[in-house]
Protein backbone atom coordinates (compact mmCIF):
# COMPACT_ATOMS: atom_id res chain seq x y z
CA UNK A 1 0.00 0.00 0.00
CA UNK A 2 1.32 3.44 -0.83
CA UNK A 3 0.10 6.89 0.23
CA UNK A 4 1.64 8.66 -2.72
CA UNK A 5 2.86 7.23 -5.96
CA UNK A 6 4.72 9.47 -8.37
CA UNK A 7 5.67 8.06 -11.75
CA UNK A 8 7.89 9.74 -14.38
CA UNK A 9 6.85 13.22 -13.31
CA UNK A 10 8.34 16.02 -15.43
CA UNK A 11 7.75 19.75 -15.12
CA UNK A 12 8.70 22.59 -17.42
CA UNK A 13 7.85 26.15 -16.46
CA UNK A 14 8.02 28.93 -19.06
CA UNK A 15 9.96 26.69 -21.41
CA UNK A 16 12.58 25.80 -18.81
CA UNK A 17 12.77 22.20 -17.68
CA UNK A 18 12.77 22.01 -13.88
CA UNK A 19 13.11 18.23 -13.56
CA UNK A 20 12.20 15.15 -15.55
CA UNK A 21 11.21 11.54 -14.93
CA UNK A 22 10.96 11.71 -11.17
CA UNK A 23 9.44 8.56 -9.69
CA UNK A 24 9.00 7.55 -6.05
CA UNK A 25 6.43 6.06 -3.68
CA UNK A 26 5.69 6.96 -0.09
CA UNK A 27 4.42 4.22 2.22
CA UNK A 28 2.78 4.52 5.66
CA UNK A 29 5.38 4.86 8.41
CA UNK A 30 7.88 6.77 6.30
CA UNK A 31 9.31 10.19 7.13
CA UNK A 32 10.78 11.24 3.83
CA UNK A 33 13.03 14.28 3.49
CA UNK A 34 13.26 15.95 0.12
CA UNK A 35 16.66 17.63 -0.14
CA UNK A 36 18.45 19.49 -2.88
CA UNK A 37 20.23 22.78 -3.54
CA UNK A 38 18.36 26.09 -4.05
CA UNK A 39 16.42 26.09 -7.28
CA UNK A 40 16.50 22.31 -7.68
CA UNK A 41 12.71 22.26 -7.85
CA UNK A 42 11.77 20.82 -4.46
CA UNK A 43 8.72 23.05 -4.08
CA UNK A 44 7.76 22.50 -7.71
CA UNK A 45 8.02 18.73 -7.26
CA UNK A 46 5.76 18.78 -4.21
CA UNK A 47 3.22 21.06 -5.90
CA UNK A 48 3.24 18.92 -9.04
CA UNK A 49 2.78 15.77 -6.96
CA UNK A 50 -0.26 17.42 -5.38
CA UNK A 51 -1.60 18.44 -8.77
CA UNK A 52 -1.45 22.16 -8.00
CA UNK A 53 0.56 22.76 -11.18
CA UNK A 54 0.48 20.95 -14.47
CA UNK A 55 3.02 18.20 -15.05
CA UNK A 56 3.74 15.36 -17.43
CA UNK A 57 3.63 11.90 -15.91
CA UNK A 58 1.54 10.44 -13.13
CA UNK A 59 0.89 11.31 -9.51
CA UNK A 60 -1.69 9.44 -7.46
CA UNK A 61 -2.67 12.63 -5.62
CA UNK A 62 -3.07 14.72 -8.75
CA UNK A 63 -5.46 12.10 -10.09
CA UNK A 64 -7.86 12.54 -7.16
CA UNK A 65 -10.74 15.00 -7.02
CA UNK A 66 -9.97 18.17 -5.04
CA UNK A 67 -12.11 17.01 -2.11
CA UNK A 68 -10.62 13.52 -1.99
CA UNK A 69 -7.12 14.92 -2.25
CA UNK A 70 -7.81 17.25 0.69
CA UNK A 71 -8.69 14.20 2.79
CA UNK A 72 -5.68 12.24 1.56
CA UNK A 73 -2.91 14.82 1.88
CA UNK A 74 -2.37 18.00 3.91
CA UNK A 75 -0.06 20.61 2.38
CA UNK A 76 1.84 23.31 4.19
CA UNK A 77 3.34 25.75 1.67
CA UNK A 78 6.59 27.54 2.31
CA UNK A 79 4.97 30.98 2.19
CA UNK A 80 3.47 31.27 5.65
CA UNK A 81 0.43 33.28 4.78
CA UNK A 82 -2.05 34.33 7.43
CA UNK A 83 -4.20 36.92 5.71
CA UNK A 84 -6.43 37.97 8.61
CA UNK A 85 -5.74 38.46 12.33
CA UNK A 86 -7.66 35.33 13.42
CA UNK A 87 -6.92 33.49 16.66
CA UNK A 88 -4.52 30.54 16.65
CA UNK A 89 -7.45 28.27 17.43
CA UNK A 90 -9.44 29.58 14.43
CA UNK A 91 -6.36 29.18 12.25
CA UNK A 92 -5.86 25.55 13.28
CA UNK A 93 -9.60 24.93 12.82
CA UNK A 94 -9.23 25.77 9.11
CA UNK A 95 -7.58 22.37 8.75
CA UNK A 96 -10.99 20.80 9.37
CA UNK A 97 -12.66 22.46 6.37
CA UNK A 98 -12.20 19.39 4.10
CA UNK A 99 -14.00 17.30 6.73
CA UNK A 100 -16.95 19.62 7.20
CA UNK A 101 -15.83 21.29 10.43
CA UNK A 102 -17.86 22.02 13.55
CA UNK A 103 -18.49 18.46 14.77
CA UNK A 104 -17.09 16.78 17.91
CA UNK A 105 -14.49 14.88 15.85
CA UNK A 106 -13.37 18.20 14.39
CA UNK A 107 -13.05 19.73 17.83
CA UNK A 108 -10.99 16.79 19.08
CA UNK A 109 -8.66 17.03 16.09
CA UNK A 110 -8.13 20.77 16.67
CA UNK A 111 -7.37 20.30 20.37
CA UNK A 112 -4.98 17.42 19.62
CA UNK A 113 -3.12 19.39 16.95
CA UNK A 114 -2.78 22.42 19.24
CA UNK A 115 -1.42 20.25 22.06
CA UNK A 116 0.92 18.42 19.75
CA UNK A 117 2.54 21.68 18.59
CA UNK A 118 2.64 23.03 22.19
CA UNK A 119 0.33 25.92 21.32
CA UNK A 120 -2.18 25.54 24.15
CA UNK A 121 -0.99 28.74 25.84
CA UNK A 122 -1.16 30.67 22.58
CA UNK A 123 -4.47 29.39 21.26
CA UNK A 124 -6.47 32.54 21.99
CA UNK A 125 -3.74 34.86 20.73
CA UNK A 126 -3.97 36.62 17.38
CA UNK A 127 -2.01 34.54 14.89
CA UNK A 128 -0.65 37.48 12.91
CA UNK A 129 0.89 39.00 16.05
CA UNK A 130 2.92 35.88 16.90
CA UNK A 131 6.61 35.55 16.11
CA UNK A 132 7.60 33.90 12.84
CA UNK A 133 8.46 30.63 14.56
CA UNK A 134 5.19 30.57 16.50
CA UNK A 135 3.26 31.23 13.27
CA UNK A 136 5.09 28.33 11.63
CA UNK A 137 4.07 26.03 14.47
CA UNK A 138 0.46 27.22 14.25
CA UNK A 139 0.45 26.49 10.52
CA UNK A 140 1.91 23.04 11.10
CA UNK A 141 -0.86 22.46 13.65
CA UNK A 142 -3.36 23.47 10.95
CA UNK A 143 -1.94 20.79 8.65
CA UNK A 144 -1.98 18.22 11.49
CA UNK A 145 -5.63 19.03 12.24
CA UNK A 146 -6.48 18.00 8.69
CA UNK A 147 -5.71 14.41 9.89
CA UNK A 148 -4.72 13.09 6.49
CA UNK A 149 -2.83 9.85 5.83
CA UNK A 150 -0.12 11.89 4.12
CA UNK A 151 1.38 15.17 5.31
CA UNK A 152 3.48 17.30 2.96
CA UNK A 153 5.31 20.38 4.17
CA UNK A 154 7.67 22.76 2.43
CA UNK A 155 10.52 23.86 4.72
CA UNK A 156 8.49 23.37 7.92
CA UNK A 157 11.49 23.90 10.21
CA UNK A 158 12.79 27.11 8.60
CA UNK A 159 12.86 29.93 11.13
CA UNK A 160 12.35 27.72 14.18
CA UNK A 161 14.73 27.75 17.15
CA UNK A 162 16.75 24.54 17.72
CA UNK A 163 14.40 23.20 20.39
CA UNK A 164 11.36 23.69 18.19
CA UNK A 165 13.18 22.33 15.13
CA UNK A 166 13.90 19.12 16.99
CA UNK A 167 10.47 18.84 18.60
CA UNK A 168 8.78 19.53 15.26
CA UNK A 169 10.83 16.78 13.61
CA UNK A 170 9.87 14.52 16.51
CA UNK A 171 6.20 15.32 15.93
CA UNK A 172 6.61 14.25 12.30
CA UNK A 173 8.51 11.12 13.40
CA UNK A 174 5.69 10.27 15.82
CA UNK A 175 3.12 10.67 13.05
CA UNK A 176 5.15 8.36 10.83
CA UNK A 177 5.56 5.85 13.67
CA UNK A 178 1.77 5.90 14.07
CA UNK A 179 1.34 4.89 10.44
CA UNK A 180 1.04 8.19 8.57
CA UNK A 181 3.36 9.19 5.77
CA UNK A 182 5.30 12.45 5.84
CA UNK A 183 7.13 14.23 3.02
CA UNK A 184 9.16 17.31 3.97
CA UNK A 185 11.47 19.50 1.99
CA UNK A 186 14.46 20.35 4.16
CA UNK A 187 17.55 22.52 3.85
CA UNK A 188 19.01 21.46 7.19
CA UNK A 189 20.83 18.25 6.29
CA UNK A 190 21.62 17.65 9.96
CA UNK A 191 17.92 17.38 10.76
CA UNK A 192 17.42 15.28 7.64
CA UNK A 193 20.19 12.88 8.66
CA UNK A 194 18.92 12.47 12.22
CA UNK A 195 15.17 12.26 11.79
CA UNK A 196 14.22 11.10 8.32
CA UNK A 197 13.76 7.43 7.52
CA UNK A 198 14.52 8.11 3.90
CA UNK A 199 15.85 10.94 1.74
CA UNK A 200 15.10 12.01 -1.81
CA UNK A 201 17.89 14.05 -3.38
CA UNK A 202 16.70 16.31 -6.17
CA UNK A 203 19.49 17.85 -8.24
CA UNK A 204 20.63 18.22 -11.85
CA UNK A 205 16.99 18.19 -12.97
CA UNK A 206 16.29 14.69 -11.73
CA UNK A 207 16.06 12.47 -8.69
CA UNK A 208 19.75 11.88 -8.03
CA UNK A 209 19.33 9.53 -5.10
CA UNK A 210 16.57 7.84 -3.10
CA UNK A 211 17.31 5.82 0.02
CA UNK A 212 18.14 5.86 3.72
CA UNK A 213 20.10 8.95 4.89
CA UNK A 214 23.45 7.14 5.08
CA UNK A 215 23.08 6.04 1.47
CA UNK A 216 22.16 9.52 0.20
CA UNK A 217 24.44 11.78 2.24
CA UNK A 218 27.62 10.30 0.74
CA UNK A 219 30.67 12.46 -0.03
CA UNK A 220 30.19 11.83 -3.76
CA UNK A 221 26.55 12.86 -3.89
CA UNK A 222 27.10 15.82 -1.56
CA UNK A 223 29.88 17.08 -3.82
CA UNK A 224 27.76 16.65 -6.93
CA UNK A 225 24.52 18.10 -5.65
CA UNK A 226 25.58 20.67 -3.05
CA UNK A 227 29.28 21.28 -3.81
CA UNK A 228 30.17 20.74 -0.16
CA UNK A 229 32.17 18.42 2.05
CA UNK A 230 30.73 17.27 5.34
CA UNK A 231 31.41 15.39 8.52
CA UNK A 232 28.97 12.50 8.84
CA UNK A 233 29.33 10.05 11.70
CA UNK A 234 27.33 7.51 13.65
CA UNK A 235 27.53 8.30 17.38
CA UNK A 236 25.89 6.72 20.43
CA UNK A 237 23.43 9.65 20.25
CA UNK A 238 22.52 8.89 16.66
CA UNK A 239 23.83 10.16 13.35
CA UNK A 240 25.61 13.51 13.29
CA UNK A 241 25.95 15.52 10.13
CA UNK A 242 27.79 18.81 9.78
CA UNK A 243 28.58 20.52 6.47
CA UNK A 244 32.21 21.65 6.47
CA UNK A 245 33.37 23.48 3.37
CA UNK A 246 32.42 24.51 -0.13
CA UNK A 247 34.10 22.74 -3.03
CA UNK A 248 35.16 25.38 -5.55
Amino acid sequence: MTLLSVDSLSVSLRGREIFRDVSFDIAPGELVGLIGPNGAGKTTLMRAALGLIGAAGQSSLAALSATDRARQAAWMPQAREIAWPVTVEALVALGRLPHGGGGPADHAAIVAAIERMALTELQQRTATRLSGGEQARALIARALAQETPLLMADEPTAGLDPAHQISTMEVFADLAAAGQGVLLSLHDLGLAARHCTRLLLLAEGRLLADGPPEAVLTPDLLARAFHITAHHAQTPDGPVFQPLSVIR
Binding site: A70, P77, E81, I82, A83, A90, L97
Partner: protein
Amino acid sequence: MTRLFVVLATLVILLALAALMVGPADAGVAASLRALLGEGGPLVLVMQEIRLPRMMLGLMIGASLGLSGAALQGYLRNPLAEPGLIGISSSAALGAVIAIQTGLAAAFALALPLMALAFALLAVVILLALSGTRRGDTLTLILAGIAISATSGALTQLVLNLSPNPFATSEIVFWLMGSLADRSMTHVALAAPFMGLGFLLMAGLGRSLDALTLGEDAAESMGVNLSRLRLRVVIGTACVVGAGTAVAGAIGFIGLVVPHLLRPFTGHRPGPLLWASALGGAAMLLAADVAVRVTLPDRDLKLGVLTALVGAPFFLHLIWRNRRARA
Protein backbone atom coordinates in the same frame (compact mmCIF):
# COMPACT_ATOMS: atom_id res chain seq x y z
CA MET B 1 -21.77 34.71 16.62
CA THR B 2 -25.47 34.04 17.24
CA ARG B 3 -25.62 37.22 19.31
CA LEU B 4 -24.18 39.23 16.45
CA PHE B 5 -26.79 37.75 14.12
CA VAL B 6 -29.65 38.60 16.50
CA VAL B 7 -28.37 42.15 17.03
CA LEU B 8 -27.92 42.82 13.32
CA ALA B 9 -31.20 41.20 12.31
CA THR B 10 -33.11 43.20 14.96
CA LEU B 11 -31.43 46.37 13.75
CA VAL B 12 -32.41 45.65 10.15
CA ILE B 13 -36.04 44.96 11.11
CA LEU B 14 -36.30 48.13 13.22
CA LEU B 15 -34.72 50.27 10.52
CA ALA B 16 -36.93 48.70 7.85
CA LEU B 17 -39.98 49.64 9.95
CA ALA B 18 -38.57 53.14 10.47
CA ALA B 19 -38.03 53.45 6.71
CA LEU B 20 -41.70 52.63 6.21
CA MET B 21 -42.82 55.21 8.78
CA VAL B 22 -40.80 58.23 7.68
CA GLY B 23 -42.16 60.51 4.96
CA PRO B 24 -44.06 63.66 4.16
CA ALA B 25 -47.41 61.91 4.56
CA ASP B 26 -47.39 62.04 8.34
CA ALA B 27 -49.31 58.97 9.44
CA GLY B 28 -49.22 57.07 12.72
CA VAL B 29 -47.50 53.71 13.07
CA ALA B 30 -50.74 51.73 13.32
CA ALA B 31 -52.37 53.53 10.39
CA SER B 32 -49.24 53.08 8.27
CA LEU B 33 -49.09 49.35 8.91
CA ARG B 34 -52.79 48.93 8.22
CA ALA B 35 -52.38 50.86 4.98
CA LEU B 36 -49.49 48.61 4.02
CA LEU B 37 -51.90 45.67 4.24
CA GLY B 38 -54.44 47.52 2.09
CA GLU B 39 -56.89 49.40 4.29
CA GLY B 40 -57.09 53.16 4.74
CA GLY B 41 -57.76 55.07 1.53
CA PRO B 42 -55.02 57.25 -0.01
CA LEU B 43 -52.41 56.14 2.53
CA VAL B 44 -52.54 52.68 0.96
CA LEU B 45 -51.07 54.12 -2.22
CA VAL B 46 -48.33 55.96 -0.33
CA MET B 47 -47.35 52.88 1.64
CA GLN B 48 -47.59 50.28 -1.10
CA GLU B 49 -46.36 52.28 -4.08
CA ILE B 50 -43.84 54.70 -2.56
CA ARG B 51 -42.50 53.66 0.82
CA LEU B 52 -42.55 49.88 0.47
CA PRO B 53 -40.45 49.78 -2.75
CA ARG B 54 -38.11 52.39 -1.29
CA MET B 55 -37.61 50.31 1.85
CA MET B 56 -37.19 47.10 -0.16
CA LEU B 57 -34.59 48.67 -2.43
CA GLY B 58 -32.72 50.05 0.58
CA LEU B 59 -32.71 46.59 2.12
CA MET B 60 -31.66 44.82 -1.09
CA ILE B 61 -29.00 47.30 -2.20
CA GLY B 62 -27.55 47.69 1.29
CA ALA B 63 -27.29 43.92 1.72
CA SER B 64 -25.78 43.64 -1.78
CA LEU B 65 -23.11 46.22 -1.10
CA GLY B 66 -22.23 44.67 2.26
CA LEU B 67 -22.12 41.12 0.92
CA SER B 68 -20.13 41.89 -2.21
CA GLY B 69 -17.72 44.11 -0.26
CA ALA B 70 -17.06 41.30 2.21
CA ALA B 71 -16.70 38.73 -0.60
CA LEU B 72 -14.24 40.89 -2.55
CA GLN B 73 -12.20 41.73 0.53
CA GLY B 74 -12.07 38.06 1.47
CA TYR B 75 -11.16 36.95 -2.04
CA LEU B 76 -8.48 39.59 -2.54
CA ARG B 77 -7.40 39.32 1.11
CA ASN B 78 -7.33 43.07 1.19
CA PRO B 79 -9.48 45.20 3.51
CA LEU B 80 -9.36 48.09 1.02
CA ALA B 81 -11.29 46.25 -1.69
CA GLU B 82 -14.83 47.47 -2.33
CA PRO B 83 -17.55 46.60 -4.86
CA GLY B 84 -16.66 49.58 -7.08
CA LEU B 85 -13.13 48.26 -7.50
CA ILE B 86 -13.91 45.95 -10.38
CA GLY B 87 -15.48 48.74 -12.45
CA ILE B 88 -19.05 47.46 -12.63
CA SER B 89 -20.69 50.39 -10.83
CA SER B 90 -18.97 53.04 -12.95
CA SER B 91 -19.83 51.28 -16.20
CA ALA B 92 -23.46 50.83 -15.07
CA ALA B 93 -23.47 54.54 -14.26
CA LEU B 94 -22.15 55.29 -17.75
CA GLY B 95 -25.05 53.34 -19.26
CA ALA B 96 -27.51 55.32 -17.17
CA VAL B 97 -25.87 58.63 -18.08
CA ILE B 98 -26.10 57.82 -21.79
CA ALA B 99 -29.78 56.93 -21.33
CA ILE B 100 -30.45 60.31 -19.69
CA GLN B 101 -28.38 62.29 -22.19
CA THR B 102 -29.89 60.75 -25.31
CA GLY B 103 -33.39 61.29 -23.99
CA LEU B 104 -34.09 57.56 -23.97
CA ALA B 105 -34.82 57.73 -20.25
CA ALA B 106 -37.40 60.43 -20.80
CA ALA B 107 -39.07 58.52 -23.64
CA PHE B 108 -39.21 55.23 -21.85
CA ALA B 109 -38.94 55.06 -18.05
CA LEU B 110 -37.13 51.75 -17.83
CA ALA B 111 -34.54 52.72 -20.45
CA LEU B 112 -32.26 54.04 -17.71
CA PRO B 113 -31.98 50.91 -15.55
CA LEU B 114 -31.94 48.66 -18.62
CA MET B 115 -29.09 50.62 -20.22
CA ALA B 116 -27.23 50.53 -16.90
CA LEU B 117 -27.67 46.77 -16.69
CA ALA B 118 -26.51 46.34 -20.28
CA PHE B 119 -23.36 48.35 -19.60
CA ALA B 120 -22.72 46.41 -16.38
CA LEU B 121 -22.97 43.20 -18.40
CA LEU B 122 -20.62 44.56 -21.03
CA ALA B 123 -18.14 45.53 -18.31
CA VAL B 124 -18.17 42.08 -16.74
CA VAL B 125 -17.57 40.49 -20.14
CA ILE B 126 -14.58 42.79 -20.72
CA LEU B 127 -13.36 42.18 -17.18
CA LEU B 128 -13.44 38.40 -17.56
CA ALA B 129 -11.86 38.59 -21.00
CA LEU B 130 -9.04 40.74 -19.63
CA SER B 131 -8.41 38.98 -16.37
CA GLY B 132 -9.54 35.53 -17.38
CA THR B 133 -10.15 32.81 -14.85
CA ARG B 134 -6.52 32.04 -14.20
CA ARG B 135 -5.92 31.08 -10.61
CA GLY B 136 -3.82 33.27 -8.42
CA ASP B 137 -3.93 36.28 -10.66
CA THR B 138 -5.67 38.82 -8.44
CA LEU B 139 -3.48 41.68 -9.64
CA THR B 140 -4.77 41.42 -13.22
CA LEU B 141 -8.34 41.46 -11.89
CA ILE B 142 -7.69 44.65 -9.92
CA LEU B 143 -5.85 46.33 -12.80
CA ALA B 144 -8.59 45.38 -15.28
CA GLY B 145 -11.17 46.77 -12.85
CA ILE B 146 -9.26 50.03 -12.51
CA ALA B 147 -8.94 50.32 -16.30
CA ILE B 148 -12.69 49.76 -16.77
CA SER B 149 -13.50 52.27 -14.01
CA ALA B 150 -11.22 54.87 -15.51
CA THR B 151 -12.62 54.40 -19.01
CA SER B 152 -16.25 54.56 -17.85
CA GLY B 153 -15.49 57.57 -15.66
CA ALA B 154 -13.83 59.39 -18.55
CA LEU B 155 -16.71 58.59 -20.91
CA THR B 156 -19.23 59.78 -18.30
CA GLN B 157 -17.34 63.06 -18.03
CA LEU B 158 -17.17 63.31 -21.80
CA VAL B 159 -20.96 63.02 -21.97
CA LEU B 160 -21.28 65.74 -19.33
CA ASN B 161 -18.64 67.84 -21.06
CA LEU B 162 -20.32 67.75 -24.45
CA SER B 163 -23.86 67.90 -23.15
CA PRO B 164 -25.65 70.80 -24.90
CA ASN B 165 -28.57 70.60 -22.49
CA PRO B 166 -28.04 72.00 -18.95
CA PHE B 167 -31.16 70.23 -17.67
CA ALA B 168 -29.86 66.86 -18.76
CA THR B 169 -26.50 67.75 -17.21
CA SER B 170 -27.97 68.55 -13.83
CA GLU B 171 -30.18 65.47 -14.01
CA ILE B 172 -27.09 63.36 -14.69
CA VAL B 173 -25.14 64.95 -11.85
CA PHE B 174 -27.98 64.36 -9.40
CA TRP B 175 -28.53 60.83 -10.63
CA LEU B 176 -24.85 60.04 -10.12
CA MET B 177 -25.16 60.95 -6.45
CA GLY B 178 -27.41 57.96 -5.81
CA SER B 179 -30.89 58.02 -4.37
CA LEU B 180 -33.81 55.79 -3.45
CA ALA B 181 -36.42 58.52 -3.89
CA ASP B 182 -39.38 57.95 -6.24
CA ARG B 183 -38.57 54.36 -7.08
CA SER B 184 -41.39 51.94 -7.84
CA MET B 185 -42.11 48.25 -7.54
CA THR B 186 -41.00 47.96 -11.16
CA HIS B 187 -37.49 48.91 -10.03
CA VAL B 188 -37.68 46.29 -7.31
CA ALA B 189 -38.80 43.67 -9.82
CA LEU B 190 -36.03 44.67 -12.22
CA ALA B 191 -33.26 44.45 -9.65
CA ALA B 192 -34.49 41.43 -7.70
CA PRO B 193 -33.58 38.61 -10.14
CA PHE B 194 -30.00 39.87 -10.60
CA MET B 195 -29.55 40.41 -6.90
CA GLY B 196 -31.03 37.00 -6.18
CA LEU B 197 -28.56 35.41 -8.58
CA GLY B 198 -25.69 37.38 -7.05
CA PHE B 199 -26.68 36.29 -3.55
CA LEU B 200 -26.93 32.67 -4.68
CA LEU B 201 -23.44 32.88 -6.15
CA MET B 202 -21.82 34.57 -3.16
CA ALA B 203 -23.69 33.35 -0.07
CA GLY B 204 -22.05 29.91 -0.15
CA LEU B 205 -18.47 31.15 -0.44
CA GLY B 206 -17.78 31.32 3.29
CA ARG B 207 -15.71 28.16 3.59
CA SER B 208 -13.63 28.90 0.50
CA LEU B 209 -12.90 32.42 1.72
CA ASP B 210 -11.99 31.08 5.17
CA ALA B 211 -9.57 28.63 3.58
CA LEU B 212 -8.05 31.45 1.55
CA THR B 213 -6.80 32.95 4.84
CA LEU B 214 -3.92 30.48 4.43
CA GLY B 215 -3.08 31.66 0.91
CA GLU B 216 -4.05 30.30 -2.48
CA ASP B 217 -1.82 27.24 -2.46
CA ALA B 218 -3.00 25.95 0.91
CA ALA B 219 -6.62 26.77 0.08
CA GLU B 220 -6.41 24.85 -3.18
CA SER B 221 -4.86 21.87 -1.42
CA MET B 222 -7.85 21.93 0.94
CA GLY B 223 -10.24 21.46 -1.96
CA VAL B 224 -11.03 25.05 -2.97
CA ASN B 225 -11.45 25.52 -6.71
CA LEU B 226 -9.81 28.91 -7.17
CA SER B 227 -11.06 29.52 -10.72
CA ARG B 228 -14.64 28.82 -9.74
CA LEU B 229 -14.29 30.96 -6.62
CA ARG B 230 -13.04 33.87 -8.72
CA LEU B 231 -15.88 33.54 -11.21
CA ARG B 232 -18.47 33.42 -8.45
CA VAL B 233 -17.06 36.49 -6.70
CA VAL B 234 -16.75 38.51 -9.91
CA ILE B 235 -20.10 37.56 -11.46
CA GLY B 236 -21.88 37.73 -8.09
CA THR B 237 -20.52 41.21 -7.42
CA ALA B 238 -21.35 42.31 -10.96
CA CYS B 239 -24.95 41.08 -10.59
CA VAL B 240 -25.69 42.81 -7.30
CA VAL B 241 -23.74 46.01 -7.93
CA GLY B 242 -24.88 46.35 -11.55
CA ALA B 243 -28.52 45.94 -10.52
CA GLY B 244 -28.09 48.24 -7.53
CA THR B 245 -26.48 51.01 -9.57
CA ALA B 246 -29.11 50.60 -12.29
CA VAL B 247 -31.98 51.36 -9.93
CA ALA B 248 -30.39 53.70 -7.38
CA GLY B 249 -27.22 55.22 -8.82
CA ALA B 250 -23.79 54.88 -7.30
CA ILE B 251 -23.84 54.56 -3.52
CA GLY B 252 -20.31 54.46 -2.16
CA PHE B 253 -18.60 53.56 1.05
CA ILE B 254 -21.06 50.98 2.40
CA GLY B 255 -19.27 48.09 0.70
CA LEU B 256 -15.97 49.29 2.11
CA VAL B 257 -16.91 50.40 5.61
CA VAL B 258 -19.42 47.75 6.68
CA PRO B 259 -17.13 44.69 6.32
CA HIS B 260 -14.35 46.67 7.96
CA LEU B 261 -16.60 47.63 10.86
CA LEU B 262 -17.99 44.14 11.47
CA ARG B 263 -14.78 42.14 10.90
CA PRO B 264 -13.66 42.20 14.59
CA PHE B 265 -17.08 40.88 15.66
CA THR B 266 -16.70 37.79 13.47
CA GLY B 267 -13.24 37.03 14.80
CA HIS B 268 -11.77 38.41 11.54
CA ARG B 269 -12.97 35.29 9.71
CA PRO B 270 -14.04 36.12 6.14
CA GLY B 271 -16.74 33.41 6.01
CA PRO B 272 -19.06 34.59 8.78
CA LEU B 273 -18.34 38.16 7.68
CA LEU B 274 -20.38 37.50 4.51
CA TRP B 275 -23.80 37.29 6.18
CA ALA B 276 -22.82 39.78 8.88
CA SER B 277 -21.90 42.36 6.23
CA ALA B 278 -25.07 41.67 4.25
CA LEU B 279 -27.16 42.44 7.34
CA GLY B 280 -24.93 45.33 8.34
CA GLY B 281 -25.04 46.83 4.84
CA ALA B 282 -28.84 46.64 4.81
CA ALA B 283 -28.97 48.32 8.23
CA MET B 284 -26.56 51.08 7.21
CA LEU B 285 -28.29 51.91 3.93
CA LEU B 286 -31.74 51.91 5.56
CA ALA B 287 -30.41 54.17 8.32
CA ALA B 288 -28.88 56.50 5.73
CA ASP B 289 -32.12 56.61 3.75
CA VAL B 290 -34.11 57.41 6.89
CA ALA B 291 -31.53 60.07 7.73
CA VAL B 292 -31.77 61.85 4.36
CA ARG B 293 -35.53 62.05 4.79
CA VAL B 294 -35.38 63.26 8.41
CA THR B 295 -32.52 65.77 8.23
CA LEU B 296 -33.41 67.72 5.09
CA PRO B 297 -36.91 66.58 4.08
CA ASP B 298 -37.43 69.44 1.59
CA ARG B 299 -34.04 69.48 -0.10
CA ASP B 300 -33.83 65.90 -1.46
CA LEU B 301 -30.42 65.20 0.06
CA LYS B 302 -28.87 62.45 -2.07
CA LEU B 303 -28.14 59.11 -0.45
CA GLY B 304 -24.67 58.68 -1.95
CA VAL B 305 -23.67 62.11 -0.64
CA LEU B 306 -24.74 61.18 2.87
CA THR B 307 -23.09 57.73 2.91
CA ALA B 308 -19.79 59.26 1.81
CA LEU B 309 -20.19 62.24 4.13
CA VAL B 310 -20.76 60.03 7.17
CA GLY B 311 -18.73 57.07 5.95
CA ALA B 312 -15.45 58.81 5.19
CA PRO B 313 -14.90 60.50 8.58
CA PHE B 314 -16.01 57.30 10.24
CA PHE B 315 -13.47 55.40 8.22
CA LEU B 316 -10.80 57.90 9.22
CA HIS B 317 -11.75 57.29 12.82
CA LEU B 318 -11.37 53.54 12.36
CA ILE B 319 -7.94 54.00 10.80
CA TRP B 320 -6.98 56.29 13.65
CA ARG B 321 -8.10 53.75 16.26
CA ASN B 322 -6.31 50.95 14.42
CA ARG B 323 -3.14 52.96 14.30
CA ARG B 324 -3.24 53.59 18.04
CA ALA B 325 -3.97 49.92 18.75
CA ARG B 326 -0.92 48.95 16.74
CA ALA B 327 1.42 51.51 18.27
